[in-house]
Amino acid sequence: MNLPAILLAIRWLIWETIRQSLATRIFWLMLGVSVLAMLFCASVGTVDLPRYPIGDTPERLPPNDPQARDPERVTRHGVDIINGQVTLLFGAVRINTTIYREEAIRWLQLVLAGGVADTLGLLLALIWTAAFLPGFLEPAAISVLLAKPVPRWSLLTGKYLGVLVFVLLQVGVFVVGTWLMLAVRTGVWEPRYLLCVPLLVMHFAIFFSFSCLLAVWTRSTIVCVVGSLAFWVLCWGINYGRHVAVIAVTEHAEAAVGASWALGMGYWILPKPFDLSYLLSQTLGASDYFPIASELQAVERLNSLSLGASVVSSLLFAVVMLILAGYEFLQAEY
């Protein structure tokens, strides 16, 4: 079997998966969520009011404020506090702020990317796409495809990539759409927000690889939905627990050594949703303006957190899951 033929087969399966998402209305459902988020962003506005002076409160300044870089001046004369408003729902809600307009918009982007897309969006995407593979692997549906000359692994690869392309489209619409709306309305063009697209798709791809393995093993949508959600919660718990255990061990809690070892094993084997979310917020520059979780601060101080290693080991986990799923699919009998 030549490579171009395999690539054509994979391309067709990707296209077929997009058609499936359109037919099952999942495409429109997820697009609806994105449109709602875009409408919300279109309702956002900012009002810059005159700065007002206030003394001896440099801690209230954003760390990158030019005035805060001159501590002597701050001590002597105080500083001007940024004064303004963020309006939501076309002015129906007005929030007084003492931060820059750019930071207010970055905060909104952080909520959209970290809260809506990275947590809620990821879990919803796992649920809504969970039926794609089990339906495809039903004996009556797959038998005719398996009797074609393309290699079995290419069928699974095509369908997996099809789901990823579908999610990439949805994430792209969500991120680019909300970015454009916020930028047009407020004049804040923050390009770092666009980096959320590959990060969110990578996060999804890692957990969908586990759903893929469950689908090949069980061919059950229920198992894929419940299993992948439970797995995400388990991974999040182990990820967070490992950081807490590292801190506890360092603070001479002898009893925590065993737990730390076990959690450390789980941490390095399993995907790390807590770290991946932190990577996302770091990419958006959130730590420049907002406090980060104390556990993350502590493990960073202890040099026990490497986001690069977290990403690589999470991706390795996904590769292992896909190889296992591929092997299981090659062995499966219909």
Partner: protein, 247 residues
């Protein structure tokens, strides 16, 4: 193996375990041997659970034999390229209902590794042949069972196969659909191609098959021509089969 043999089963066995933890197994196919020759229509007959579909699945690499050997177009089963020269019509199609007939044939043609130009002409030709050209762009959820069966036949013919495997093909087909199927099978035979037919419809078997194998409880209990089975046409096929099934 004879050069004109398109499929060969030699002492093929297939066991199914009765449960994940069970050591007991059920023998679905028991030392079955036969060949399908080029240019013949071969019928595989037997009561339910005789092992007919299991034999077909093994031929198409959907499952593996527990013992024995199977060759496909003169090549061992692990050579998947031979699947490109075999058409398969499943008894219960579960095609994606959101695709149209044209889209489905294109996709299945791509998976059959047909060149673009061949595929373009073949899809239109087959849509016309099975009478679906006027509904070619309608989604399959609008199709009746008979229309889906016609589409199943069309996708099996995409590669102009050397061997066409039909598993209960007339299920859901109306009279014109059955006539179409007979014409297709007869046409293939005339062009020196082979058909492996699994069917419970005896009239179909009588009209189409050159040779048959009869299976009972996984074992081959008869192999020969229909004339041999009906003792030179002296007995009805139904009676002959009934005797074999109950022997």
């Amino acid at each position: 193996m004879n050069m004109s043999t398109v499929a060969e089963f030699h002492e093929v066995c297939r066991d199914y375990r009765l449960g994940i933890w069970s050591r007991q197994s059920l023998r679905a196919v028991d030392a079955v041997s036969f060949t399908v020759q080029a240019g013949e229509v071969f019928g595989l007959l037997g009561p339910n659970r005789a092992g007919k579909t299991t034999l077909i699945k093994m031929l198409l690499s959907l499952c593996r034999p527990s013992a024995g050997q199977i060759s496909r177009l003169g090549r061992p089963l692990h050579d998947r390229r031979t699947l490109g020269r075999i058409g398969y019509m499943h008894e219960n199609h579960a095609f994606p209902k959101y695709l149209s007939a044209r889209e489905l044939l294109w996709g299945y043609g791509v998976l059959t590794v047909l060149p673009y130009e061949t595929l373009r002409s073949r899809v239109e030709e087959l849509l016309d042949r099975v009478g679906l050209l006027d509904r070619a762009d309608h989604p399959l959820w609008q199709y009746s069972k008979g229309m889906v069966q016609r589409l199943g036949l069309a996708q099996a013919l995409l590669s102009d196969p050397e061997l066409l495997v039909l598993d209960e093909p007339t299920e859901g087909l109306d009279l014109s659909g059955r006539r179409l199927l007979r014409e297709v099978v007869t046409g293939l035979r005339q062009r020196g191609k082979s058909v492996l037919l699994v069917s419970h419809v005896l009239s179909e078997v009588e009209q189409l098959c050159d040779r048959v194998a009869v299976l009972r409880q996984g074992k081959r209990v008869f192999l020969g021509t229909l004339d041999q089975l009906t003792v030179q046409g002296g007995r009805p096929l139904e009676q002959s089969l009934q005797e074999l099934y109950e022997a």
